[in-house]
Symmetry: D2
Subunit: 353 residues, 4 copies
């Protein structure tokens, strides 16, 4: 008897949706992609070419009713993430939803609430770095105590400059650079410091060095944020849209007895070029060049958890916490204010602070 395969649908076939579709279709042996949803004719045409045997719907609800469907990958625009995820959960499907659940804390929470009502379903928020071999290795090494108590976390998400300025219009819905880019770094901080660590204060600053128009969407192209936790730890973040060389996402977990660094020295592959100008290496031009293998792992582990009813590596509720911090950073950036919280997580106002 052939092994059972998970019947899965992909919602959204844009840039990232198409990648998910291909990964689940050809690099995730334990599933069958049976359906996809896209309202876009070009994307549908692409699917006809590349997703042999997959039924493409232009109606999300119709897709949900696809015969035998068991799981949905939500990879549409951010603004649709939550609604689609909730609908899928309510229809009894496992859900893997691209990050962020929403740029709104409340809407993000509503996905978690829906998931909480269906503990039989697997609901995953796609923080791809949690599936990256290097980040996992760092976590294991930290856990075994080699660096003492992890105390300071530095992390950055820095995109290659897109001279088309696409990211200006993108900023209209992205939630801002801290919610869009640093959300990953925030999630890593929560992973490494513990999902329960409580924020004490938050501050952020930013500039528009290459795209002043970002200001109209309350955004910046370079942001620095600092988060202080009640248990005496600090995380600080940098995000940028203007790297010349390519994508450079990196992190440092600094402990009382050592430090673990992930990707201090980015590289596309193992080639170095000795030229008259010196020694040169190229680096990935995009986050997918850095994290492709993590996405494949994510797909396979999500499918395995659904089929085998095993635990996902992390809870969807953490995604809300990450969005909360991201939104607070974004607010601090725009208000100029430092933001304070008490130990119960409630916002507090300090006179003249």
């Amino acid at each position: 008897m052939a092994p059972r395969k998970l019947k899965i649908a992909i919602s959204g076939l844009g840039r990232m949706g198409a990648r998910h579709a291909i990964n689940f279709h050809t690099r995730t042996p334990r599933c069958d992609v049976v359906a996809a949803f896209t309202p876009d004719a070009k994307e549908a045409a692409w699917a006809a070419q590349n997703l042999e045997g997959v039924t493409v719907y232009d109606d999300y609800d119709a897709m949900l009713r696809h015969q035998g469907l068991e799981a949905v990958v939500v990879a549409t625009v951010t603004t649709a993430h939550a609604e689609q995820a909730i609908k899928a959960i309510e229809a009894g499907k496992h859900v893997m939803c691209e990050k962020p659940l929403s740029t709104s804390i409340e809407v993000s929470q509503s996905v978690v609430d829906a998931a909480d009502k269906r503990p039989d379903l697997k609901v995953l928020c796609g923080f791809s770095r949690r599936f990256d071999a290097s980040y996992r290795d760092a976590y294991e090494r930290m856990k075994t105590g080699g660096i003492g108590k992890p105390s300071v976390f530095r992390s950055q998400t820095c995109d290659k400059l897109d001279p088309s300025g696409f990211f200006v219009e993108y900023a209209r819905f992205s939630g801002g650079i801290f919610v869009d880019c640093n959300i990953h770094d925030i999630d890593l901080a929560l992973w490494y410091f513990g999902q329960d660590c409580k924020v004490k204060s938050i501050v952020a600053m930013g500039i528009t060095a290459v795209e002043p128009d970002l200001r109209k969407y309350n955004d910046v192209d370079n942001g620095v944020g600092v988060v202080e936790f009640w248990d005496g730890r600090i995380a600080y973040f940098y995000s940028s849209r203007m790297m010349a060389a390519g994508q450079h996402d990196m992190s440092e977990i600094i402990g009382t007895a050592g430090k673990i660094v992930v990707n201090a020295n980015p590289q596309s592959n193992l080639v170095e070029l000795h030229e008259p100008a010196g020694i040169r290496r190229e680096i990935p031009g995009h986050y997918y060049g850095r994290f492709e293998q993590a996405f494949v792992t994510e797909a396979n582990e999500f499918v395995a958890a659904c089929l085998d009813d095993t635990e996902l590596p992390f809870k969807v509720s953490g995604a809300v916490q990450a969005v909360k911090i991201g939104c607070a950073l974004q607010e601090s950036l725009n208000s100029g204010k430092k933001i304070f919280f008490d130990e119960s997580g409630r916002r507090i106002e300090k006179a003249n602070l």
Copy 2:
């Protein structure tokens, strides 16, 4: 209609055979592994657990007769490579054969002869580095002229020391360190310098630094070889069985206007550890840790060539040339002689040279 998939069998389920089996089974979407051959009960038990739906034979010829079989992956012990490959070719199957075809030049040639009689079949000798993204990138950069004329090639295959000394007994059949390890480096030299470059002279030296017993099989644990070509190029090779830190395979293509280096700085992943003793990174413990992705690419490209009747990236005849050079290096190592060839490839004897 579901896309057609290549029906493939794996011969040999030892260390590398099992990896091939898994790769073709789960990471090569366009094929179905339908059969496998192993005379070993443990390996057969492993297959029952891990290769669902695959018929396991303890008779190679029986496997070849498996209904609908189209292609065979030969991954048994080196001494069986050629015979199995030839049988498969004669049975009208595409063949992917692990390197080397044989440690004997004549036997290697017999595989090529068999392949030549069946131009309709795809016959591939598994030089995995030809499928590695970094080596391919290096090749493309070289081809576009960035380094001028490639003139010197340095390449090494260095294994992590196996304190069990397993490699002593392994040397009985391996053909020696130049045939077993540097065969990859030799093949790379032929790739980068051109498959038609003609050897002018060959010399090799070696030592047994950790395993004196290797001498009984005419082998060494560290070897250095130099190959001079008639068109004014040089390749030099190093192989070792005693690396402390792990596998370190690396290459330099040195041109008149630049140099391309592959894997000068090996690493397991993107993690660096800052510890009281300094900054440390780990490196792969084995060649598979370095080349896993290349093997997956190899599997997928072999299958695609069979299904689409497209050309393989390189000819099987080159494998004979590589074995010739490897055997000459091994001979020079053992005789102490430098070996000379005329431009037609014939061995020449020089008085007192």
Copy 3:
């Protein structure tokens, strides 16, 4: 006729003073160290052994009156820097004063005021990194425009953990981690962004991960600070007393078209060790291991400026600006407040900001 040599005195023969003494004595050919001041008997004994021909005084004023003395290097405890520097200036001596001039802005300014009255004298505040070949190279590359407009500056000063906890008592007078460590990074920011850039806001946070006792001196062992400038630039800093591997001071100048990084990968020398645990390199245990050559350059350039009446590479007034920023970071750390300035440099209070 022998070339004229500058007659110079060293005040303070503690850790750094002794290094300056040796550097001026043996590695600065155009000067003669003629005198030294130390109130400490052990240091005086050391001088008798190591500073042949140098008169050692236990009275600073007496040293100032040494026959023919032309210049003084002030390398005593920070609390004495300003007074000694001013006395020397008033006595008509050139002065090279260790950083910081003082941990007080006003006192620092008093040194600048004294210097302003004697434009014939060379007065240098010893920001050693300004003399470091790599930082200078970075500056030249930045100036020639390769990275577009420098917009974000990240810089850290991270000491190897001293398990003796010496730095706790040291914190009593150091001015705090931002004034003691990050003062260098602040000075670099002013160098790279332009000495005239105006601070808009400042915020800092910190923790005591290894030495809770630091709190009694209003200090921390890990600090993160962010400085926003009115011309749309940001600098952010990290300082730490708990690095396991050694001293790691590094900086990034991030421009709209590229980035220059100094010392991302610290190293003691050019040796790499391949060991069973991987590949390892050591890094300097102390700032002097990193910047020794910069101190020698500093000594030689100071002497040359005095002898040839040429300009020093930077003005002493910048040192006050650096202390101002350092003190504001330290204040923000301790108050929890974000601090704001108007474009004229005046502190402003924002309701609830």
Copy 4:
């Protein structure tokens, strides 16, 4: 009383001679450069500008008679090294002679013979790498046993391509690439393997990739050589005149339990550039950019040994051994022959080997 200083003369003020002169004059506190010899008017004019207080002679013998002279640095053309060194020794002067003593083994030996007659004098052959901090660190680590038994030594001396082709004419007297470049690597092999290790066989090959005219002086622009020792060790060398990126001299000491690498990743300084083409660093354009500090150390240690009558770090006799190996490599390159020695060091001829 002022400390006694060694009175020293510099013979030859060409490229390297001028550097030695400056180093001894301004960076070697315990000596006074009192005299210099050059037959060249331009060099003499340079000395008048840059070597204040130094008497410049156009007659070597006259220079040797300079009042009070105690030591001579021989940095003239290679062909004059030996004669000048011997004259100086016979005149009772300490001698530091640039490498090689001579390109002839016999002439080199004559220097050693002269030195042997005057055990009261310090005679140093200037193998600058012996004074390099990284090579010394490597030696100490090797000695303490971290890598087990050093068994394979790989070392290269690779010059940046000089497009003027100067090195063609230079080859007329240089002794060839193995004697001129790899002499350093050979000397390192003797240092690391032990000065007494006995050569068993030698072979070399080479090409003229950029300068075919080198053949008229029996030289090449890229050479590979292998040296086998009687105690079961191997050293292999590469030298090149055509590096695009700059000088790349590096070495590996490979032991049975580990490996020490010196300068695998060359760099001019600690700056890395992130540019649209990737991440780049520059490397030294010339050996002096790599080894400047080693030359300064050499000067200071030579002077100290003369003044304090302490032992030099290595014996001058080793220089003959290095030249012997270099000449044999050069001979093998040109004859095509592999060369054999018995355990007593005598050349042996093997029929058809």
